[in-house]
C-alpha cells in the first residue's frame, strides 16, 4: 500500500516536471516572460514590426528583464490574412507562458483574431488602423490612431494638394474598407468627387487591367489605393505601364513600397510615425535603431517598439497575469499615467484606441520616405 502511494507520488512529480518543461518549450530552464508577436513576418510590414519589437526586447533584457526574468518574443506569421490569424491567436491563447500578444500588424488579422483574444489574453496591435478595431473587444488595444481619423486627414491633404476628382481602389477587407469609407466621406465632404471605387483582394488579385482602364477613362486627379504594399505595388506598376500619370496616395499600408522600384517614387503615404516629424520624442530610439539596422525606423518598427515597452511596463507593475495586464493597459491615460512612447503619447480611450495622435503624410523617394506634411485634428 505504502510503496504504491510513494510510486504514485513519484509519477505525479515526474509528470508535473514534464508538464512544466513542456510549458517552457524545452528551454534551458531560465525563467522567461513571453510575448507573442503576430505579424506577416515574410512581408515588409512583419519584418519591420519584428525589428522594433526585438530592439525593445533587447533593451528591456539589458536593463534586467521584467521582474528579474528575461523577456522572450515568440514571433509567428499570420501572413496578414484573417484566416491564418485565428489559429495563430489560438496558439498564443493556449500557451500559458505567453503574457500578451504584440499584434496583429494588420487590421483584418487583428479583427479576425479578436474573438480569440477576448477570451482572456491582451493583444496590443502596433499598426492596425481600421475603425472596426475600436469595437473589437475589451482585450484589444492599439498604438496607432484609427483610420476613421487618419483617412479624413489623408482626404484633406489630397484635396488641398492633389485635386478634387478621385478614383479609389480598395482591398476588400477591414483595413481597406475602413480607409476607403473614411477617405470617401471626408473627400466628398470637402467638395471632392469620387469617380470610381473598385474592390480587390489583398495579395490575391493579380490583374487590375479592367479597373485601371476604367480609371484611365475617368481620368481622375488622384488615385487613392486603400490597401497594403503587396497589391499596391502591382497596381502602381500596372497603372504606370498603362500610362496613368495621376498621383497615387495611400495609407500607412503602402510604406513598404519605399526603395523597391523607382516606379513607386512620388507615391504619397500616410505615416503613423516619422523619425523626422517635429515633436517626435525618442531621438535615442532612432539612433539605436539606425546603428543596429542601418536605416531610420518606420512606423511599423516604432509602434511595435512602443507596444513591447508598454506591455513590459505593465507586466513589471502588475506581474505575470494576463487579466491584470489587461486592466493595467485599460487604465493607461485614464487612472494611470499616459505612456510616453517614441511614436507619441499613449493614452487609451474606452475602446483601447490612443487619443489624439498625430498623423503625417510622406512621399516615397527612392528608399527614403520624405516628410511632406503633418496632419493634426480629426
Amino acid at each position: 500500500m505504502r510503496s504504491t502511494g510513494i510510486r504514485a507520488s513519484v509519477v505525479g512529480v515526474v509528470a508535473l516536471g514534464l508538464w512544466a518543461a513542456g510549458c517552457d518549450n524545452g528551454g534551458d530552464g531560465a525563467a522567461t516572460a513571453r510575448l507573442g508577436v503576430a505579424a506577416p513576418l515574410e512581408q515588409f510590414i512583419g519584418s519591420q514590426t519584428l525589428r522594433g519589437a526585438e530592439l525593445a526586447k533587447d533593451e528591456i533584457n539589458a536593463a534586467g528583464g521584467i521582474r528579474g526574468q528575461q523577456l522572450e518574443l515568440v514571433p509567428v506569421t499570420d501572413s496578414a490574412r484573417a484566416q491564418r490569424a485565428v489559429p495563430v491567436a489560438d496558439g498564443f491563447f493556449r500557451d500559458p507562458a505567453v503574457l500578451a500578444v504584440i499584434g496583429h500588424s494588420t487590421s483584418g488579422a487583428t479583427l479576425a483574431a479578436a474573438s480569440i483574444y477576448n477570451r482572456g489574453i491582451p493583444a496590443v496591435s502596433p499598426t492596425s488602423t481600421s475603425p472596426e478595431i475600436s469595437d473589437a473587444g475589451d482585450w484589444i488595444f492599439r498604438m496607432a490612431s484609427s483610420d476613421a481619423a487618419n483617412s479624413g486627414r489623408l482626404a484633406r491633404f489630397a484635396l488641398r494638394e492633389l485635386g478634387t476628382r478621385a478614383a479609389i481602389l480598395y482591398a476588400n477587407e477591414p483595413y481597406g474598407r475602413g480607409l476607403r469609407e473614411g477617405f470617401g466621406k471626408a473627400f466628398r465632404a470637402g467638395g471632392g468627387q469620387l469617380l470610381e471605387e473598385y474592390p480587390y483582394i489583398e495579395g490575391e488579385t493579380q490583374d487590375f487591367e479592367a479597373y485601371l482602364l476604367g480609371i484611365q477613362t475617368a481620368n481622375p486627379d488622384l488615385v487613392f489605393v486603400a490597401g497594403l504594399d503587396v497589391s499596391a505595388g502591382l497596381i502602381i506598376s500596372q497603372a504606370r505601364a498603362l500610362g496613368i500619370v495621376a498621383p497615387i496616395i495611400g495609407g500607412d499600408g503602402l510604406l513598404g513600397l519605399a526603395g523597391r522600384d523607382s516606379a513607386y517614387d512620388g507615391t504619397y503615404v500616410g505615416l503613423l510615425y516619422h523619425a523626422d516629424a517635429p515633436g517626435q520624442t525618442g531621438r535615442q530610439f532612432v539612433e539605436s535603431y539606425r546603428s543596429r539596422y542601418g536605416e531610420p525606423p518606420d512606423h511599423f518598427a516604432a509602434l511595435a517598439y512602443d507596444a513591447v515597452k508598454l506591455v513590459a511596463q505593465a507586466a513589471e507593475d502588475v506581474g505575470f497575469d494576463r487579466e491584470k495586464i489587461r486592466d493595467y493597459l485599460a487604465a493607461v491615460g485614464d487612472g494611470r499615467a499616459a505612456f510616453q512612447g517614441v511614436g507619441g503619447l499613449i493614452a487609451f480611450d474606452a475602446n483601447g484606441d490612443p487619443r489624439e495622435k498625430n498623423y503625417a503624410v510622406g512621399r516615397i523617394m527612392g528608399s527614403r520616405i520624405e516628410l511632406v506634411s503633418v496632419e493634426g485634428g480629426t
Partner: protein, 563 residues
C-alpha cells in the same frame, strides 16, 4: 457526543432538514445554471441561424443586382450592388462578434468572409470589364463567380450545421451535468437519510436498556430491598436523571426506615418514662396554678404603676412647655438687648465722629494762635525800629540845641524847637517800651493758649480711643448676644423635639399600661387554664400506656425491612 434523547432527536431532524435543504438548493441552483447556459446556447444558435438566413438572402440579391447591371447597365443596379456588398460584409462582422466562438468557428467565419470578398471582387471586375466594353469577358467573369456564391451558401449552411453540432454537444454536456447534479442531490439525500436513521436507532436503543433497568430496580424495591440502586452510567441524560431520582428516593426510604426502626424502640422505652413524668407534671401543674394567681396580682400592680408613670410623663411634658416659653422670653430679651447694643454703638460712633471734628477744630485754632505769635515778633521789630529812631531823634535834638546855643540869640527859637523834638523823642521811646512790654505779655498768653490747646487735643485723642473701645465692646456684646440667641433657638428646637418625644413616650406608656392591664386579665385566664391542664395530664398518662403497646407493634413490623 450528544447525551440527551431530545438532543439526539433534534440533531437527527436537523441533519435530515439540512440534507433536504442542501439538496433542494443544489437542485434549484443547478436547474437555474443549466437553464441559463441552455438559453445562452439557444440564443447563439438562433442568432447564427438568423444571420445565415439574412446573409443568404443578401447574397442572392447581390448576384441578382450584379447580373442586372450586366444586362441593363443601369446605375441603380450598380449602386444596389455596392450597397449589398457593404451589407454582406457587415453581416460577416456580426458573425465575428457572436459570443462563444471557438477557433474552428472563427476560422469558418473568416473563410465565409473571404469567399464573400472574392465574390464581390469578381462581380466588381465583371462590372469594370462591362464598363470598358469588354462584355464577353465580363460575362465570363460573372459566370465564373457563380460557384463562389454557391460556396458562400454551403459555408453558411456549414456554419449552421456546426452550430447545431455544438448545440447537440452542449445539450449532451448539459444533460451529463444535470445527471451529475441529480446524483449529487440523491447522494446528499441518502447520506442525510442514513445519518438520520442511525441517530433514530441509537435513540431507541438508548431508551430501551435503561427503561428495563429502572423496571427491575423498582420491582426489587417493591419487594422491600431498600438497598436497590440504579447505575446511571451510559444512560441518556433524561434516564440518568430518573435513575438519580430513583436512587435518592431509595436512599430516602432507607433513611426513613432506619429512623422508624430506631425511633420505634425509643418510643416504647420513652413511653414508660413519659408515664412517670406525666404524674409529676400533674403535681407541678398545681404549683403553676398557684404561681399564676400571684403573677396575676403582680400584673395588676404593674398596670397601676404604669398609670402613675403616665401621669408623671404628662407632667414632665407640661414642664417642657414652660421651659419652652421661658426660652422664648429669653430669646426675645436677647433680641431686645441686641437692638439696644446696636443703637448704643450707633450713638458711640456719632460721638466719636463729633470728637474727631472737635480735635480738628482745636488743632486748627492752635495753628492760628501760633500765627499770632509771629505777628507779635513783627510788632517787636517795629517797636525796636521806633526806639532807635527815637534815640537818633534825641541825639539830633541835642545837637540842634548845641548848635542853637552857638547861634546865640538868633538861635533861641530853634533851641525851643529842638527841645520839643527832644521831648517828642523821649515820648516816642517811652511809648515804644510800653508797646514792647505789651507784646511780650501777649506772647506769653499765646504760648500758654497753645499749650492748653495741645493738652486739649491729647485729651480728645484719649476720649476717642475710649469711644473706640466702647464700640468694640458693644460689637462683642452684639456678637455674644447673637450667639446666645442662636443657642436659645437651638435649645428651643431641642425642647420642642423633647416635647414631641415625651408625647410619644406618654402615648407609649399609655399603650403599655393598656397592655399590662390586658396581661393582668390574661394571667387570670391562664391560671384557669392551668387548672384545666392539670386534668388533661391525667388523661395523657392513660394514653401513654396505649402508645407503649403501639410502639411494640411497630417495631415488629419494621423488622422485616432490609436496610
Amino acid at each position: 457526543m450528544i447525551t440527551t434523547i431530545r438532543g439526539r432527536q433534534t440533531t437527527a431532524f436537523a441533519i435530515l432538514l439540512l440534507g433536504l435543504l442542501a439538496a433542494g438548493l443544489l437542485g434549484i441552483r443547478s436547474l437555474k445554471g443549466l437553464s441559463k447556459e441552455f438559453d445562452a446556447e439557444m440564443a447563439r444558435v438562433r442568432k447564427t441561424t438568423e444571420l445565415g438566413t439574412e446573409l443568404q438572402r443578401d447574397v442572392i440579391e447581390l448576384i441578382f443586382a450584379a447580373e442586372g447591371y450586366l444586362v441593363s447597365g443601369s446605375s441603380d443596379q450598380k449602386r444596389r450592388f455596392a450597397d449589398l456588398a457593404g451589407r454582406t460584409q457587415e453581416v460577416a462582422t456580426r458573425y465575428r462578434e457572436l459570443e462563444g466562438m471557438g477557433a474552428e468557428e472563427a476560422q469558418q467565419v473568416e473563410r465565409l468572409a473571404a469567399t464573400l470578398t472574392q465574390l464581390e471582387v469578381e462581380l466588381a471586375r465583371a462590372h469594370a470589364l462591362h464598363d470598358i466594353g469588354r462584355r464577353a469577358e465580363a460575362r465570363a467573369v460573372a459566370d465564373a463567380a457563380h460557384p463562389l456564391a454557391e460556396e458562400v451558401a454551403s459555408l453558411i449552411s456549414a456554419l449552421g450545421e456546426r452550430q447545431n453540432q455544438l448545440l447537440e454537444a452542449s445539450t449532451a454536456a448539459l444533460q451529463d451535468r444535470a445527471d451529475e447534479r441529480s446524483n449529487y442531490v440523491l447522494t446528499i439525500l441518502a447520506l442525510a437519510f442514513a445519518m438520520g436513521s442511525l441517530l433514530a436507532l441509537a435513540t431507541i436503543r438508548s431508551i430501551d436498556r435503561p427503561l428495563a433497568e429502572l423496571v427491575s430496580a423498582a420491582l426489587q424495591l417493591g419487594r422491600g430491598d431498600l438497598r436497590t440502586r440504579v447505575s446511571g452510567n451510559g444512560m441518556p441524560k433524561e434516564f440518568a436523571q430518573v435513575g438519580a431520582a430513583f436512587d435518592s428516593m431509595a436512599g430516602g426510604l432507607r433513611n426513613v426506615a432506619e429512623q422508624v426502626i430506631s425511633t420505634a424502640s425509643q418510643v416504647s422505652s420513652s413511653a414508660a418514662e413519659f408515664s412517670a413524668i406525666s404524674e409529676q407534671v400533674a403535681g407541678s401543674t398545681h404549683e403553676v396554678a398557684a404561681a399564676m394567681s400571684e403573677i396575676s396580682e403582680g400584673a395588676d400592680s404593674q398596670a397601676r404603676a404604669l398609670t402613675e408613670t403616665a401621669s408623671a410623663v404628662v407632667e414632665l411634658r407640661e414642664g417642657t412647655g414652660s421651659i419652652e416659653s421661658e426660652a422664648n422670653k429669653n430669646r426675645e430679651l436677647s433680641h431686645a438687648i441686641q437692638r439696644e447694643a446696636s443703637d448704643s454703638q450707633q450713638s458711640v460712633r456719632q460721638a466719636v465722629d463729633l470728637l474727631l471734628a472737635l480735635r480738628e477744630v482745636v488743632h486748627r485754632s492752635a495753628e492760628e494762635i501760633q500765627g499770632l505769635e509771629s505777628t507779635s515778633d513783627q510788632i517787636t521789630g517795629f517797636v525796636r525800629r521806633i526806639t532807635s529812631i527815637a534815640e537818633q531823634t534825641h541825639l539830633l535834638s541835642l545837637n540842634a540845641a548845641i548848635e542853637a546855643a552857638h547861634a546865640g540869640h538868633e538861635g533861641r527859637g530853634f533851641s525851643v524847637v529842638a527841645e520839643e523834638v527832644r521831648k517828642l523823642a523821649a515820648e516816642a521811646d517811652a511809648a515804644a517800651h510800653e508797646v514792647d512790654e505789651t507784646v511780650t505779655q501777649f506772647r506769653r498768653w499765646v504760648e500758654k493758649a497753645v499749650a492748653k490747646m495741645r493738652e486739649g487735643e491729647g485729651q480728645v485723642v484719649q476720649v476717642e480711643s475710649v469711644a473706640r473701645g466702647a464700640e468694640g465692646a458693644l460689637d462683642t456684646i452684639a456678637t455674644d448676644l447673637d450667639r446666645i440667641s442662636k443657642a436659645t433657638d437651638e435649645a428651643l428646637v431641642t425642647v420642642q423635639r423633647s416635647r414631641t418625644l415625651l408625647e410619644q413616650v406618654a402615648s407609649n406608656v399609655a399603650s403599655v399600661t393598656q397592655t399590662a392591664a390586658a396581661h393582668a386579665a390574661r394571667s387570670q385566664d391562664v391560671s384557669a387554664a392551668v387548672q384545666e391542664q392539670s386534668a388533661t395530664t391525667e388523661q395523657i398518662s392513660a394514653s401513654v400506656s396505649e402508645l407503649v403497646t403501639a410502639a411494640n407493634n411497630l417495631r415488629q413490623a419494621v423488622g422485616e425491612w432490609k436496610v
